[in-house]
Amino acid sequence: MKSREQEYREIFVAEALEYYDALSRHISELEKSPKDEKLLAEIFRLLHNLKANAKAIGFINISDLSHKLETAFGLIRNKELNFSDEVVTVLFDGVDMLGEMITNLDNPNYKEADNQVLLRNLDLIVEAPDSTALEVDKVQRDYTAKNLSLSDLIYIQIKKLDHMMNLVGELIIDRDRILSLSKEIENPDLAVVSSHLYRITEELQFSVMDARLVNVGTLFNKFPRIVRDIAVAEKKQIHLEITGQDIQIDRNILQIITDSLLHLVRNAITHGIEPAEERVKIGKEAEGNVWLSAQNDRDMVNIKLRDDGKGIDLNDMKKAIVQRGFLTSDVVNDLRESEILSYIFEPGFSLAKEITEFSGRGVGLDVVKNAIDSIGGRLRVESEIGVGTTFTLHLPTSIAVKGALLFEVAGGFFAIPLMHTDSVVALQNHQLHEVGDMLVAEIMNETISVIYLDELLNAPEGQMRLGDKRVLKGTEQNIIIVTYNNRKLGLIVDKLLRQQDIVIKPLNKPVDNIDIYGGVTLLGTGKVCLVLDVPAITRYFISKR
């Protein structure tokens, strides 16, 4: 298992090599158009960032060289130095030396004594721009494979990994089907291969999920600056402690909880932590404490945000619950503490006395809860008045986000995975034909069966009129064409909504056995959207004819 330091080093080297590539490119272009302001600005920016990053890790020689080059280019930008002749050579050599230093970071034999001439030249350029005392030291650069290096890390679009994950999901469904068929068929060779297939797909799934994991630290490490800014704005003193940066979690999940965590941190500082004088009065340290931590919990990840502020007043909560008409006062008194606190996630609920720039409007916590619910996570709060508050985000390590098409039928929201969606068309009623007891249409030179979903789903059993155009509403029909096993089927929906990435959760008992549903998803609004299973709908349709 790599240490964090090793990982940071690798990331630095990967980024630095990118910078070096970009610098080489830009400086070559600059040679052709020496007055290009944009190129100069970009070169300056790259050197500046490289200097800062190298310094942060402790690679002082890279940082110093970057600084020298940055100064030189700064002078060129200010027109105090001309990018021509010897200056060009020295700067090119400087950039190359940078590349060499980066590639040789892990090489204990790399000697920097060879670079003294170049470093002196650089100093000369900077200190005495008009000097002609440059030592022309033409070092031939052998562009062997040694000098051109490719990083060990690659950048990959998360969408590509999403797609791989979805493919693996489908593979597993078919694999399980093969396994159960193999048990029925009882062929020894088939049994062996199925068993092997099972193991390989398990490992494949694990590998794909592992490839998507990132350190929680990539998000956590942004918070010191954020906390500082909010603390300054709120005129409070805050000490932030972060632990668990090495804990790994699916990159998508991290993306989704970013805003939520931000909101919780703002709340903690704005509403949780008391002003310094108040804290001292009640015997606390003037500086408020905020703890941000991550831990593994079997196959979930717990992210905790704790503050030692004033906590949530249960009596205020109870009063607010009754005042807003959620419950009567006698029922409220029977609630457990955790249940009372959970009302803090109701939309519009706010105990804040004033609304500040950062929070208090009561629009935040319910959005946070919806976001976490939608990925199959849990948000819990514990609080003790006068002592502090802890929010716990209980998150799955991995989720599959699937693209889906959302639509409406008889006022209900439904979704179909894009994987099974072929296309969407709008047809006039006269383009639909009644054949036997079903509807068909000619779509792109294919005759396709068309089902009016409202009828299939909502008409009483035994009274379905799937072949009767008269039950259709309006004169134009929106049809989603779905495919399964190379079979196409048209589904008439009332209204097409939008395409959206969703997280599909399985339905719970006692409604978990209804074939046509592939699960359920929570939309960002908290609304429940049923996911239709295309193969099951196809089978159901066939059984109804």
């Binding site: 419950l327 209900g412 008992k509 359920v520 609304k527």
Partner: protein
């Protein structure tokens, strides 16, 4: 639903302090009062938006999002074919979230439920007429009496087990 307490009820409640008691959540179905032991009730909330679920029995009104759990919502009045005395769909209702062995289900009740403590002795477990009711005898734990009030104490888990079997029937 707060009936004025008569002297008999007040005496009954004074006796509470000295006997074993049962804590019930009491609600109305039709024109009668029903009670469920509080241990069986996970939470009580205003009924959230219910998403209808086609191809489920009529008494399953759909599913709803309660604190991030997506649970099925059942209407007991429809389930037991009880005539509702306030069939006004516009009226907001309450949902009791019942925690069964490995899932949660919601029950709709028309009015705000009440919390009530009743001495164990006041629950009559074996009145003969229970056999005649259209609610299967297993579902009723007993008939509770508090003053002039008659509360039908349900064992909600028995109802759920029976329904689970019903719903398993393939489409």
């Amino acid at each position: 639903m707060n009936k004025k307490q008569n002297p008999e009820e007040i005496t009954d409640q004074k006796d509470l302090a000295m006997e074993a008691t049962v804590h019930l959540i009491v609600f109305r179905l039709g024109s009668e009062e029903y009670g469920i032991r509080i241990e069986q009730v996970k939470e009580v909330t205003i009924t959230p938006e219910i998403t209808r679920m086609p191809k489920t029995p009529d008494f399953i009104k759909g599913v709803a999002n309660i604190r991030g759990d997506i649970i099925a919502i059942m209407d007991l009045e429809e389930r037991f074919r009880i005539r509702s005395s306030h069939p006004d769909p516009a009226m907001s209702t309450y949902t009791l979230a019942i925690e069964a062995k490995d899932y949660i289900i919601g029950i709709i009740v028309r009015d705000m439920p009440q919390s009530l403590t009743i001495p164990v002795s006041k629950i009559d477990k074996t009145p003969a007429f229970i056999q005649d009711l259209n609610i299967n005898d297993n579902y009723i734990e007993g008939i509770g009496k508090l003053g002039s009030r008659l509360i039908i104490v349900l064992d909600i888990f028995k109802i759920l087990t029976h329904d689970e079997i019903q719903l398993l029937k393939p489409l």
